[in-house]
C-alpha cells in the first residue's frame, strides 16, 4: 500500500524556487538566442534577483521550517539574503562594461551568477548539515567556473584551477567534520543537534574534532587565516568583475553560514569553539594588515584587505553573544557597501581600452577625475576605520561586543591591527592626491557605474547620520540566531 506524503510547504522557499526556475529559463533563452542575448539575459537575471529580494522581504520571517526541517527562514536569514542579493545584483550590473570590452559576453555568465546566488541563499537558510553542504557546493562550483571564465587568459585559468583544487580539499574537510558529528550524535538536523548538545555534561572528544574540521572548512570559505592561501591568487587572476563578486556576495553568505552553524546547532558549545575563532580572527586581522603593505596590485591588495575584514567580522562571532552577532551582521552590511564602491572604481581603471591593476596607476587621479578620487578616498578612509565613516562604526560594534564578552586581548590586537592596516589604505589616498599624475583613465564612466559609485559613497559617508534602521535590522537578525 503506497503511503501518501504531503507536498512540502514551498512558500518559505519561494525566492529560491524563483531563482532556480529563472536560471533554467535564462539558460534556454541564451542557448536559443546565442551570445548576442547576453545583455538581455543579464538584465533579466538582475530583475530575477530583485523579484527574489521582494519575496524574501515580504515572505515569512519568524523561524518557519520546511522540507522536513532542512530549510529555515528567520529574521537572520531574511537580513542576510537581502545582503547577498544586493551584492550579487550589483556585481552583475558592474560586470556589463567589462564583459563587453574584454569580449567575454557569453550568456552563461549571468546564469552562473544566478545559480551561485541560489546556492548562497540555500546556505543562509540551511538547517541541516546535508542542506548546508549542498548549498555550499552549488555556490562554490559556480564560483570555480566563473573564476576561470576568461579561459584564454592563463592567470584566470590558474585562478579557477587553484580555487577548485583547494575548495575541493576544504569541502572534504567539512564533510569529514560533518560525518564525525553525525557519527557521534546520530543527527544532521540543526534543531536535533542543538537539543542533543545543550544538555550539558561532558562533550565527547570526537564531536570536538568534528567541529574543528567543520570550522576549518568554513574558515576556508570565508578565507580566514590559516586557510587564506588561495585568496590573493584567485582575486588577482579572476576577471575583475568576478573578483568584485567574490569579495562581496559569497563572503557574506559564508559568514552567515558560519554564524548559523556556530550559534544554532553548536550554540551550547561556545566554550569549545570560542578559542578557535579567537585565534583565527587574530591571525586574519594581523595577516591582513601586514601582508597588504607590500602589495602593488590593487586586486591583490583587496584580497588581503578582505582577509583582514573577515578577521574583524569574526571578532563578533568570537564574542558568542547576541551583541557580537549584531556586530558581525552590521559589519558585513557595511563591508558590502564599501567593497562594491571600491570595485566600481577598480573596474574603471582602464587605459586605452585595457584594464590596469597597479596601485601606482591611480597616481594623480585627484586631478584627472576629482569625483572618482573623492569616492575612492571615502571608501579607503572607511575601510581603514576612520570616524565618522561607516567602516568605523562597523569596527566599533564588533570591538564593543568583544570587550563586553571580556575578550580584551582580542579587542586590543584588533585595534592595533586596524592601525597598521590604515597605512596601506592611506597610501592609496596619498598616491591619488599627492603623486605626479600618470596618464588619464578612459572616459566616459558608464552611467550604471556612476549611480553605484555615488550611492555607495553617500551611504559610507552619511551612515552615522541615520544608522537606526540598520542597527535595528541587525539586532532583530541577531536575536533570531541567539536563543
Amino acid at each position: 500500500m503506497p503511503t501518501v506524503h504531503a507536498v512540502p510547504d514551498l512558500a518559505p522557499a519561494l525566492p529560491e524556487v524563483i531563482l532556480a526556475v529563472v536560471a533554467m529559463a535564462l539558460l534556454m533563452l541564451g542557448v536559443f538566442r546565442g551570445d548576442g542575448s547576453t545583455r538581455t539575459v543579464s538584465w533579466l537575471a538582475v530583475a530575477a534577483m530583485a523579484v527574489a529580494g521582494f519575496f524574501v522581504i515580504t515572505g515569512p520571517s519568524d523561524g518557519v521550517v520546511t522540507f522536513s526541517g532542512m530549510f529555515v527562514v528567520d529574521r537572520f536569514a531574511v537580513f542576510m539574503k537581502v545582503l547577498v542579493l544586493i551584492g550579487s545584483a550589483l556585481a552583475l550590473v558592474m560586470s556589463f562594461g567589462y564583459l563587453r570590452d574584454e569580449g567575454m559576453e557569453r550568456f552563461e555568465f549571468p546564469v552562473l551568477l544566478v545559480l551561485a546566488t541560489l546556492g548562497m541563499l540555500m546556505m543562509v537558510s540551511a538547517n541541516d548539515l546535508m542542506a548546508l553542504y549542498l548549498g555550499l557546493e552549488l555556490q562554490s562550483l559556480a564560483l570555480y567556473v566563473v573564476a576561470a571564465f576568461k579561459r584564454e587568459s592563463l592567470r584566470s585559468t590558474e585562478a579557477g584551477l587553484k580555487y577548485f583544487v583547494l575548495g575541493a580539499l576544504s569541502s572534504g574537510m567539512l564533510l569529514y567534520g560533518c560525518s564525525l558529528i553525525y557519527g557521534i550524535t546520530g543527527a544532521t538536523d540543526f534543531a536535533a543537534l542543538s537539543a542533543a548538545l545543550s544538555g550539558g555534561g561532558e562533550v565527547p572528544i570526537g564531536l570536538v574534532i568534528g567541529l574543528v574540521f567543520l570550522v576549518s572548512g568554513l574558515a576556508f570559505k570565508v578565507s580566514a587565516v590559516p586557510f587564506h592561501m588561495w585568496t590573493p591568487d584567485v582575486y588577482e587572476g579572476a576577471p575583475t568583475p568576478v573578483t568584485a563578486f567574490f569579495a562581496v556576495a559569497p563572503k557574506i553568505a559564508a559568514v552567515a553560514l558560519f554564524l548559523r552553524v556556530m550559534m544554532s546547532p553548536f550554540g551550547g558549545l561556545v566554550s569549545q569553539w570560542q578559542q578557535i575563532i579567537v585565534v583565527v580572527s587574530i591571525a586574519s586581522m594581523v595577516l591582513g594588515a601586514f601582508a597588504a603593505i607590500r602589495q602593488d596590485n590593487i586586486k591583490r591588495l583587496m584580497a588581503y584587505s578582505s582577509i583582514g575584514h573577515v578577521g574583524y567580522a569574526l571578532v563578533g562571532l568570537a564574542a558568542g553573544t547576541a551583541e557580537g552577532m549584531r556586530g558581525t551582521i552590521l559589519y558585513m552590511t557595511i563591508y558590502l557597501v564599501m567593497n562594491v564602491g571600491t570595485f566600481a572604481v577598480i573596474l574603471n581603471m582602464k587605459r586605452a581600452g585595457a584594464m590596469v591593476e597597479g596601485i601606482h596607476d591611480l597616481a594623480g587621479l585627484a586631478r584627472s577625475r576629482p569625483l572618482m578620487a573623492l569616492a575612492m578616498g571615502i571608501f579607503m578612509f572607511s575601510l581603514a576605520g576612520i570616524p565618522p565613516l561607516a567602516g568605523f562604526f562597523a569596527k566599533l560594534y564588533v570591538f564593543l561586543a568583544a570587550v563586553n564578552a571580556e575578550l580584551y586581548a582580542l579587542a586590543v590586537i584588533g585595534v592595533l591591527a586596524s592601525v597598521v592596516g590604515a597605512f596601506y589604505y592611506l597610501r592609496i589616498i596619498r598616491i591619488m592626491y599627492f603623486d605626479a599624475p600618470s596618464e588619464v583613465f578612459d572616459a566616459p564612466v558608464a552611467s550604471e557605474m556612476r549611480v553605484i559609485l555615488a550611492a555607495a559613497a553617500v551611504f559610507t559617508l552619511f551612515f552615522f547620520a541615520y544608522p537606526a534602521p540598520f542597527l535595528a535590522g541587525a539586532e532583530a537578525a541577531a536575536l533570531a540566531l541567539v536563543r
Binding site: R106, L134, A148, R151, G183
Partner: protein
C-alpha cells in the same frame, strides 16, 4: 556466519590490496584496472551488508562510467607518469616522518576514547523495515523526506554541466558540418555533370 566472515575478509583484503596497487602500479592503465577491481570488491561488500541497490549503482556508475572515463583519459593524455614520480624517494623520509607524527598524535588523542553516544543523543540509523526492498525504501525517502536535497543535488549537477561546457566548448571555424536541408534541396543538375567523352581519348 563463518561463510559471511570469510567472504568479508576476502573482499576487504582484495579491496585494500588493489587500492594499494592503484597508487603503486607503474603503468597508469594498470592503475585504472586495479581501481575497477577495487570498485567491484566494494560492490561485493555492499551486497554483504544487504544494500543490493548501492552495489548495483557501484558497478553501473563507478565501473561502467567513471572508471572507463578514467581509462580513456589516461590513454589519451599520454602523460609520462614515471617522470612525475621522480621526486618520490627524495621526499619519502620527510613525508613519512610527518605522517608518523600525525598518526601518533591521532592515537594519543583518540586512544583513551571509546566511541559511544553520549546521553540524550538521537539513536543511530533505523533498522530496515521488513517487507520493503532496498530500492523501494531509498526511493520513498529520497522523493519525500529528502526531496529538497534531491533537487539541490540536481542544481549542482546542472552547474557542473554548464561549467564543463563553458570552459571547454570552442567553436572552431572551417568545420564541415552536415546540413540536412542543403542535402535534401540539392537537385540533380547541381550534383551531376555529364561530360561528352570522345572515344579513345580520356578526359
Amino acid at each position: 556466519m563463518i561463510v559471511q566472515t570469510l567472504t568479508f575478509c576476502l573482499l576487504a583484503a582484495v579491496t585494500l590490496a588493489s587500492g594499494v596497487m592503484v597508487i603503486s602500479a607503474r603503468n597508469p592503465v594498470h592503475s585504472v584496472l586495479f581501481l575497477i577491481l577495487a570498485f567491484f570488491n566494494s560492490a561485493g561488500l555492499f551486497v554483504l551488508m544487504g544494500a543490493e541497490f548501492l552495489a548495483m549503482i557501484m558497478v553501473i556508475v563507478y565501473v561502467g562510467a567513471v572508471a572507463v572515463l578514467f581509462l580513456f583519459v589516461v590513454m589519451m593524455l599520454d602523460i609520462n607518469f614515471v617522470e612525475l614520480r621522480q621526486g618520490f624517494l627524495q621526499y619519502l623520509p620527510i613525508g613519512g616522518l610527518v605522517g608518523l607524527i600525525m598518526l601518533v598524535e591521532l592515537l594519543l588523542v583518540l586512544g583513551g576514547w571509546a566511541i559511544r553516544p553520549p546521553a540524550g543523543v538521537v539513536a543511530a540509523a533505523e533498522p530496515a523495515v521488513a517487507g520493503v526492498s532496498n530500492t523501494e525504501a531509498l526511493g520513498s525517502l529520497l522523493y519525500t523526506r529528502y526531496v529538497y536535497l534531491f533537487q539541490a543535488a540536481g542544481m549542482v549537477l546542472l552547474v557542473a554541466m554548464i561549467g564543463a561546457i563553458v570552459l571547454t566548448l570552442r567553436t572552431r571555424a572551417g568545420v564541415r558540418k552536415q546540413s540536412i536541408s542543403r542535402q535534401v534541396s540539392r537537385r540533380r543538375d547541381e550534383a551531376v555533370e555529364v561530360k561528352e567523352v570522345a572515344p579513345g581519348s580520356g578526359i
